[in-house]
């Protein structure tokens, strides 16, 4: 049976893993390479790295860091942030990454998803999205609107429609990162995650809000996510991946147990 994936997300700023609440008040948590190795030895099923300042600083992603990760991490990992051209993306895969993740870039130019799928292969293309709850249900009938640029820009785009379109264009996986839940550790955004995971044919990764193992049980059992992102709850050492998996296993959620 296919197991549910637990994916630690490492936000990188100045070569340090950092974590904030809703992209603000970030604090540094450690060295990305050391944390990546420790997670991969500790049972993480996949990793994701976001270079969170590359876009704002208008510089390319830190490719040397990706190369270092590729040498020591032998589980799948995705990389995002600051990827603007197909060449940039190819270089990230060539450095050893399994997937590249785009977010704002795809909103500005949706056709890039199809080009990525054609050149890199669908399975390597992750669409990240940052939806926020909205009352503007005329433009956003699902009740969720896509934001970009680290939640700074509202787009008027409906989150569910965007997810369906991205899957049709060739995205191999969709990460639903709730703006409302991000960094709160109060639980995942279950409503939208379920809406998307039951509407698209590609795997859906829930992101934002993980604070305890029950939150993961809920997002898998109630919202049918295929994978879930964790950050603060494991970065700080409050929980290990093994502890989370034990609780998921006890609740009947299939998880990888040998590593």
């Amino acid at each position: 049976m296919l197991t549910k994936r637990i994916i630690p997300c490492l936000d990188i700023r100045n070569r340090k893993v950092t974590k904030g609440v809703r992209f603000q008040n970030n604090i540094d948590l450690g060295d990305p390479i050391e944390m990546a190795v420790s997670y991969s030895k500790g049972g993480a099923d996949e990793l994701v790295f976001y270079d969170i300042t590359a876009s704002a600083e208008r510089r390319p992603i830190d490719i040397d860091m990706v190369r270092e990760i590729g040498k020591v991490v032998h589980i799948p990992f995705a990389v995002g942030g600051g990827l603007r051209t197909l060449d940039d993306m190819y270089n990230v895969l060539d450095a050893g990454a399994e997937k590249v993740s785009v977010n704002s870039l795809a909103v500005e130019d949706p056709d890039i998803i199809g080009e990525m799928a054609r050149v890199l292969g669908c399975q390597n293309v992750v669409l990240g999205m940052d939806p926020v709850r909205t009352d503007a249900i005329t433009s956003c009938p699902s009740g969720y609107e896509i934001t970009t640029r680290g939640f700074r820009t509202r787009t008027g785009m409906d989150a569910l429609e965007w997810a369906k379109r991205a899957a049709d264009l060739g995205a191999g996986e969709i990460v639903v990162n709730s703006v409302d839940a991000d960094g709160t550790q109060d639980g995942f955004e279950l409503t939208l995650t379920k809406l998307i995971s039951t509407s698209v044919g590609v795997p859906v990764v829930a992101s934002g809000g993980a604070g305890n193992p029950q939150h993961l049980i809920d997002v898998f059992q109630l919202a049918h996510a295929d994978a879930a992102i964790v950050a603060s709850m494991t970065h700080t050492g409050r929980y290990t991946i093994a502890q989370i998996k034990e609780e998921l296993d006890a609740a009947g959620v299939p998880v990888r147990k040998t590593w």
Binding site: T3, D45, V72, H74, Y90, D94, G96
Partner: protein, 207 residues
């Protein structure tokens, strides 16, 4: 020395890095002569069967691959590599493949909207017979998969391990003699995947 065959079917860096991590030298090549002379061959690949076959023809790799297998050199197919060594794939309306392993490649079929295609993630691999490649690995261990199609060998004696997805129990490792082929990605399967590659690097091609 491991020879990794590059036929423009996806990026092979992760395969090379996995062998480097276990201290085994690996080279990536498109040269048919290098492949034909190789002592140990890895035939990876992701993407579509049709373009894979076109590239193999264009690069004149088909005879070299068949030759190196017939010479008894240890040979490991991975993912798309495992599919294109079969007779035929139902991808893109039908693709004639290499015909090294008798059998076809089929697409997962499911009515369940929650069962996503491709299968993406870690699934259990149950060994159906002992094999030198399984040394120090427990049957039922999880490996990392990304695929929409799966190999269905015509001769069941080719099935070395099985995995279940979308209501189908499929051959996740194929093999006979000096040939072995995994539908999963050992190079992405953490410590256990590296153990599998270590076993391959030491295997003499007998079982």
């Amino acid at each position: 020395m491991i020879t990794i065959v590059d036929y423009k079917a996806g990026n092979l860096t992760s395969v090379r890095l996995a062998f480097e991590a276990i201290g085994v030298e690996a080279q990536i090549t498109r040269d048919p002569e290098v492949v034909a002379d190789a002592k140990r061959v890895v035939f990876p690949g992701v993407g579509a069967a049709k373009s894979a076959m076109e590239h193999l023809r264009e690069l004149e790799l088909i005879e070299a691959l068949k030759l190196v297998i017939s010479l008894g050199r240890p040979f490991l197919g991975i993912c798309l590599g495992t599919q294109v060594i079969c007779d035929w794939s139902e991808e893109d309306g039908g693709v004639e493949c290499l015909g090294i392993v008798p059998g076809n490649v089929r697409r997962f079929q499911t009515e369940d909207p929650l069962c996503k295609i491709p299968q993406m993630g870690w699934n259990h691999v149950e060994f159906v017979m002992p094999h030198p490649l399984f040394r120090d690995i427990k049957s039922g261990s999880e490996f990392y998969f990304v695929h929409s199609y799966y190999p269905a060998p015509a001769d069941p004696s080719y099935t070395l391990a099985e995995t279940e997805y979308a209501g189908t129990r499929f051959a996740s490792i194929l093999g006979k003699g000096n040939l072995a082929a995994t539908q999963f990605h050992p190079e992405r399967s953490g410590r256990i995947g590296l153990q599998f590659l270590t076993n391959f690097a030491r295997w003499e091609g007998l079982c």
